[in-house]
Symmetry: D2
Subunit: 360 residues, 4 copies
């Protein structure tokens, strides 16, 4: 049994962590902080939690300093650029940290971070300790890590959809298109005009075309997987719903692989790739490669830690199309963070996050 | 550890039962049936369940006969009028049954059932065994019962909102208004014009004004609680959302109680009644009387077994206004059914249904 | 042809006025102002208007002073308390004004305004000029008025639902219950936590129970209609949709009228009252009393100036239940304001507002 | 003034035609038919139309034969495969027809129609009379046509987005990706499981990947525009909202054009292409090329006949990304059909369809 701290507990990712950890069988104490609501009780801000604190916390929002001192593991769910000092503290004090911001998503590549996030690193040393927390790529390293950079939500959906294809070199790597669509929780809790019900409800649009910060992170993951540079064109869109991400991805087949498929119907070619994907993910607890004829659907993964994946061969056998779906607040944020915690502490990997997605 | 059967497992209440029982620590085996999908696997109809069957079922939809024979407890989630024969079987074979239809909601009052449901009883004897499954009214009797009539969704919200006031005789009983609003899951899974996205989405309207079958059930519960006939005017409305019910209720204060409150501000008068409600429900695991200033909100109870209640004194101290909120598929259907099962078998009352409602 | 000005053109009611007046055949010039966006072009804030200005305006947001000087009629769509000075200016300069705030909704009853809106009147004289702009109550007076207080959105729905019953004295007046539900546009455009998609979407709750400012305005209208004091219990709720209001209202029948209905079925009794309503509204262009069996539905009046009304006799012939539906931004705000303008200038009453509500 | 007939008036496209034509200044009489509701009044099926028939129709749903005989122009809004006989009738009787199905979308290419729609042509001769009704491609031919094949909804959005690029040969033509997202009205009015509120609400998923019938129609249009074969990979997705389509499209730049852009920032390169697009569409009444920084948004074109387009150069100057938005029921169906009628009869092209999209 461990004590866990959440710094930034009243944002959407933060409060989702609270909800998960309150029911986690290996967490006995929970410490929470919030700059905006320090000293208040979290049940006043989130009345859904009323009566649910289960003896793990009294609900009072502490200072970040209090939280970091009392916790065996710290989750930082803060704006980008604020996690380094907590990571440094953890490294120096034998504690562990999972950061849900972008601060530790680029390992030692400060230049890329700087270019996209317009900020320097203040504690360069601590980045050497960090591991990118996508269990399907880095499980063994996560187990030994002290500092985890929890992946971006779009990035998780894109990477899990492309990983088997890239590792097996069945697609060309110069230009892969990632057309993603996210629910509104992805924008966080602070009120903005864009996220007002009457502005984004019953509507749909792209945003930050060619300029979203998850592009370099997807490209980095794909490059690692392929062992060569991968070009990514990434377009996010805002869906009129709360939770969920779908990424629809288009990658031209490598010539030799296309030749292997030559003569097959699109159904048979798709089945061949699907079998490869199923084999690749056969031991993964949270990736489901769907049966033929079933499309990934955000409703079907909502409130769960699953990423559902489907593959198609299209365009007369020249292109792989992959669709992946996940809940951006669970596998795309808080659930994956707890999955990382489970790995770091040797708990059962699915402890506390084995939610069955509701049918509706 | 018991085996549980669900007859009608592919309707919305049925599949919600499946989801809950798959994670219930006291249920080791689950048997499921569906007339519409017999022989198919439930994961084909509900892909959210893929990989989640946890060794309790292989997912195959059996016949109802198979299910009834293999199960220690049977949940019937069928159209009205079909549960009696299963109840008869259970009584004769020492099994237990929770029926989610209206068949056992009127105890021995066949006349009212007949008037509103246009059907006769075929097994009159079995009704003598039945107990109305609202734990907050009938906990001790439920514990000993073999046949439970699980309450209607609107009815649960209305009854829990009015129960303390009626039991303490602080309101007049001739005409209490129950203005209720329900999400679309309340209408079940069969496709209808009314429930098409483009018909009910971004829209709102009442239905079955003065003619909804939950009216006599609410009136019956209120009459039992008050010990005298209670008149109920009930209007259901359809909300453009999936889950949740709010009932807003208006009951004129009894003269003697209004006199007691005379001179108080509306805030103080409301606080006095709120204190009574808090005391009444102080040992209830699933009713939360909210703090002053907090209104019941369906989002805050969604995916949980809670019913949140708030009370106000309005109209210059002459009227009690009560607002209650619950998830129609959990406390209003499957969750309450499992709560009843827990009571019948002596399990912890909250076993398998202690969900924390998500913040969003 | 006249010139029209909108002060506060970038709020939701303001921009709805812009949309309507751009197509109004009697308005040749449109002048618009906005404190928040002065000097900007309205098409930058509302890209839906791009290319639609039709030669009536260049889209530049002027100062309020500019607007008031150039316009024959001024629409003030401002926060409460700011319209008086424009009304004073109009009276002194022979112009007309329709105010969409609460400033002129209480005629000479400053005390009620002060109690509910916590503000004094700065130009008491101008209130003598004002007429309450509900055409169905005050058509003839509106035609001659210079200053119009445009009714509140909830108020319009409640008043139109109760007016025939009160004028014909068929209901008791001590306590009428108005249970109202509104779309999110009712809260205006400024971003707030409450109106964030992830907070109010897929959710429902009451607000300001017993304390909403539309209560005294409904009571005032009903009192005028009945010729005696009418008690109103009013509860607003927030719907997870953009546009539309439904008010469900409960009024006990007057004893003599209940006696007249005695012996009739509820259907026949309802039909009798429906016939009265149909007769009362037979010359009204924007009130539709629905046929038996058809319930008011917000979708069916959306984007139109209609108020749909249905009536029922319930509770064994002792109570009138009325349901009314309207679009809160049209008949509940901008559409009604233009209807008032049409009356004041002798235009066809439906000019510019004869929208057919879309089916979906 | 002409008389217009709608065969299939109670489907979603049909009733949208009714709404538009009831307010069309050049249409004096409207005749409507429906197989499902023959003999009933359309206001019983669509209560939004109550009181709106404006002397153009009494609302009675006639037989198709009645409609065709009484009308100068016939709109067929029927399932695929049923329009030919009406077209034949029109050709023989000097009438005009706009068909909203796929029957006349492939001109003389029966093979493609047969492959994708699994049906033969019964009246081959009549296809020679037909013109594909996309005014931005075929305006002059439409003016002289008697039979119009009204384009598919996805197809209109994709074609208008790609047309300027293909006509000016700035993109490669082997593989263009069209990732489209549609509101639920696209699926029509018949109740299905997929379109139930609780199934598609708060959810998102692709469908018919690599197999949607709009793919060959998009490819055909693009091929005509480019003057050489164009390969299209098309993926439709279902949005949790009623109206609107966004297509996000990815086309690799032609080498010579990429060279021309070399050295420019992505902003400048995008601006150069945007200027080309603005020039291309400068005389089009219903295509708006948006200013830099403004993204197409379905809400902004809802209830209007506009198609909004934005262009980007991405992927280090090697790829054109185009986003287009339209209302699938207006520019994607009924509005475009009326635009075609206007052209055929020499009316003002925007007559009856110059709707300002509402802000919300």
């Amino acid at each position: 049994m461990i004590s866990a701290g959440i710094i930034g507990a009243t944002g959407y990712a933060g409060v989702e962590l609270v909800r998960i950890l309150l029911r986690h069988s290996e967490v006995s104490k929970l410490y929470i902080s919030s700059v905006s609501f320090e000293g208040q009780n979290i049940t006043d801000i989130y009345p859904n939690l009323a009566g649910q604190l289960a003896g793990k916390t009294d609900g009072v929002l502490l200072t970040a300093d209090d939280v970091k001192q009392k916790s065996d593991i710290i989750f930082t769910a803060l704006p980008n650029g604020l996690a380094e000092e907590y990571a440094d503290y953890c490294v120096k004090n034998g504690k562990k940290l999972v950061d849900l911001s972008a601060d530790f998503r680029f390992n030692l590549d400060e230049a890329t971070f700087k270019k996209w996030y317009k900020a320097d690193w203040k504690f360069p040393a601590v980045h050497k300790e960090s591991v990118y927390g996508l269990p399907e790529m880095n499980r063994e390293r996560i187990k030994k890590a002290r500092i985890i950079g929890n992946p971006g939500c779009f990035v998780t959906s894109a990477t899990l959809g492309l990983l088997p294809a890239l590792k097996s070199h069945i697609v060309k790597t110069d230009t892969i298109i990632v057309d993603s669509k996210s629910g509104v929780t992805g924008a966080g809790r602070n009120p903005t005009m864009t996220n007002q019900f009457c502005e984004c409800g019953e509507s749909f649009s792209p945003y930050k075309v060619g300029a979203h910060r998850h592009q370099p992170e997807i490209a980095k993951n794909c490059t690692v997987a392929a062992g060569e540079p991968v070009g990514i064109v990434f377009t996010p869109h805002l869906l009129p719903m709360s939770r969920g991400i779908i990424s629809t991805m288009y990658a031209p087949l490598a010539d030799d692989f296309a030749e292997k498929l030559a003569g097959k119907s699109m159904e048979d070619a798709s089945a061949a790739v699907r079998a490869m994907y199923k084999d690749f993910y056969k031991n993964e607890p949270f990736v489901r490669v769907l049966a033929a004829g079933v499309n990934p659907t955000t409703r079907v993964v909502r409130y769960s830690n699953f990423c559902d994946v489907q593959v198609y061969i299209v365009n007369d056998g020249t292109m792989l199309e992959v669709v992946s779906a996940l809940d951006n607040m669970v596998k795309g944020a808080a659930g994956q963070a707890v999955q990382n915690m489970n790995l770091m502490f040797g708990f059962k990997e699915s402890a506390g996050i084995d939610f069955i997605p509701p049918a509706f």
